[in-house]
Symmetry: C2
Subunit: 411 residues, 2 copies
């Protein structure tokens, strides 16, 4: 079954907001077997919304519209949907009371502009907003399903989660697309492609590849009349591919590298602390995004100056002077010190130059040392990353996780 | 002048990749006065690309197509453009040599599939790729300008930067849209809107609003025959609005809260260290995303257990026992200790429950204390945030920055 997304908002078109809703919805829909075939972003204008809505209705059975449900004058999604489908906007007393009580709880009277949020196109079913005042709605139109959701992710996501069972019900015995990821480590994209070039892409089954810093994904995609059949196709090819690359596949799910590393830490009963410098807290931030990270993650020190490396991490002053803060020796020492200081099994130490300034001829922007210390000893690796400051930080973090992964896989 | 964007790629539709290119291009185009009126994301299929391309040509003078220029079988943008505009693909010997030498430098022979990257539609002007093998191209078609760019951001961005002067030249004495942001703190979206409801949106001038955790943007947008005129309109309304809300407007640019706080720190010559717990390094990560953050940011300790709060931050054990790790007293102590330990002007202390587990009836998920310590003393504020783990972390970070901002604004 096919879906089309319409995202509404000037702020997305002009780049004020990065559209994470579309990626979220794309992932969720793919996960249950819906194929997203079209996405369009349009300004907060009735005519523009209507035109894309029309295209979407032509291309897909499910149309999801996100945004433009707020109280202000530039929120016109309700009007556009009502207009195109010729379903008048109707006042819902219960919705009005909900909105009213939302404001009462905050000790404010309902602003007059918020009243329009109590209107829905005739025949629409309210989707309750548990976070804000903008209700979403669901509408059947001919054989299409139209889902209208508010723009703020924290309101949109819980609302969409609740519709998933309805979508899954609609999908039973419908044409379906199922995807699967095999995540590999230690082998290049082209070597994998060569090892699979006897498997041709067909309408029924496709292979794709995606290289990330530190790992490569083999992406399987099956298209069939129903879920059972699609699952069978995936299984057949998955076991074929797994046999060929079993030494490289470390995950058969779309998991982050940090989740995989987190699972290893938990499984092996090991603990981790990190001494960051140029990565500025990104590594710690990623690992603490995982629920339950406190089981294995103990502490980080982000020492953003020589003084702090000396004072908090006890890196000897003569070390810093002799080798410089960005050096293999200092990285190693940082990893060892944080491990001792916090009494963990593993210590990571990272030092480098994230740029844009601070680089020299001998130590250019992007030069990074990553050290891993355990009771068996300390290893340090040197990297030269390319890109802007935040891109370098990101590569440092991914590489740090891939070094942890390598450590677990090699034991 | 209007522009339309077409982004090509299955991985974006299914949510495997968050589309940051569109936001980047939207921002750059808005900045020079081009109005992005349409964006569409389509699969790697000739027919789908052509259909969106047709819509884009109808709606805008500038059409930018991103992605699908690679060497593999699913890269079909060249073919789609050539097809729709009836401009045959032509082999360019010079392009071929560039691609060949790209591989030679890496000690590999040119793969046969890469040869198609040496073809461009007739009349197209090459846009040099300084990073990868996929050249972009520029094409005039009737009175339209078509710009085709590769998908990887690190290839696309430098290529686009080089076209900006051409676009600016095209914009001289053309209709233009200029935008401006007034960033407010301490006042709600609806109160601002009420205070501005005598200013009606017209074709010439529009006001919009955007609420963020911790601040609200007033967005001005002027449309005029030329740049001078548009700037005059903006100035007129800006000074009118500024007079009404001058106590709340803290920035007239599209800056992140952390950049604004960073600028205050630098301007006042103050330094900052942070003791994080539930935010897990996010606050430090955001502040170190800003180039030059080492001027004011010294150190963070992410103490993810009671033991670490005691051992690294010297929070007394009896404190932790009496009040619990998530308490006003512990937050305050964390802020004070990190300030003393690292000898900075300001210490931030954050403790809370990011969830999904770890909450109790008295201390539910989302309960967070944020403390700010200076030589004048320590203040602690209590918050109850809602959402998933990463959403709570994000709100904690934004709120921490808004507390720092409040501190600077109240001095």
């Amino acid at each position: 079954m096919k879906a089309a997304l319409i995202v509404i908002g000037n702020e997305i078109l002009i780049g004020d907001t990065v559209d994470t809703n579309a990626a979220y919805l794309g992932k969720k829909l793919s996960h249950i077997g819906v194929e997203v075939v079209f996405k369009s972003t349009v300004p907060d204008k009735v005519e523009d919304i209507k035109e894309s809505f029309k295209t979407a209705l032509n291309r897909a059975k499910i149309v999801i519209i996100v945004g433009g449900l707020g109280p202000t004058r530039d929120d016109v999604t309700r009007e556009a949907v009502s207009d195109l489908l010729k379903k008048k906007l109707k006042f819902h007393r219960r919705l009005f009371r909900n909105i009213e009580s939302f404001f009462q709880k905050r000790g404010v009277e309902i602003p007059s502009i918020s009243i329009k949020q109590a209107f829905l196109p005739a025949g629409a079913k309210e989707l309750k907003n548990t976070v804000g005042t903008a209700p979403g709605f669901l509408l059947k139109y001919r054989n299409k399903l139209i889902i209208v959701l508010p723009g703020p992710p924290r309101e949109m996501k819980p609302m969409f989660e609740k519709i998933i069972p309805t979508l899954e019900e609609k999908l039973r015995n419908s044409p379906i697309v199922i995807r699967k990821i095999l995540r590999t480590y230690g082998i290049g994209e082209s070597s994998i492609e060569e090892g699979l070039n006897d498997i041709k892409n067909t309408r029924e089954f496709e292979i794709g590849f995606q290289a990330h810093p530190g790992y490569v994904d083999i992406k399987l995609c099956a298209r069939a009349r129903n879920k059972n059949l699609a699952n069978k196709i995936i299984s057949k090819f998955e076991s074929k591919i797994f046999k060929r690359f079993k030494n490289y596949i470390f995950s058969r799910k779309d998991e982050n590298l940090e989740e995989i590393v987190g699972n290893y830490l938990r499984k092996k009963g090991q603990t981790l602390s990190i001494a960051e410098s140029c990565s500025g807290g990104l590594i710690s931030n990623l690992i603490t995004n995982i629920p339950g990270a406190s089981d294995y993650f103990k502490c980080s020190v982000i020492s953003y100056s020589n003084e702090m490396k000396r004072k908090i991490l006890n890196v000897p002053a003569k070390f810093l002077k002799k080798y410089g803060a960005v050096s293999s020796s200092v990285a190693g020492r940082m990893a060892e010190e944080i491990r001792t200081l916090t009494n963990t099994d593993i210590g990571l130490g990272i030092t480098g130059i994230a740029g844009p300034s601070g680089g020299t001829k001998n130590k250019p922007v992007g030069l990074v040392y990553i050290a891993l210390s355990t009771h068996k000893g300390t290893t340090v690796e040197k990297f030269n990353f390319y890109g802007e400051r935040t891109q370098i930080k990101e590569k440092v973090a991914l590489t740090a996780f891939s070094l942890l992964l390598k450590y677990f896989l090699s034991r």
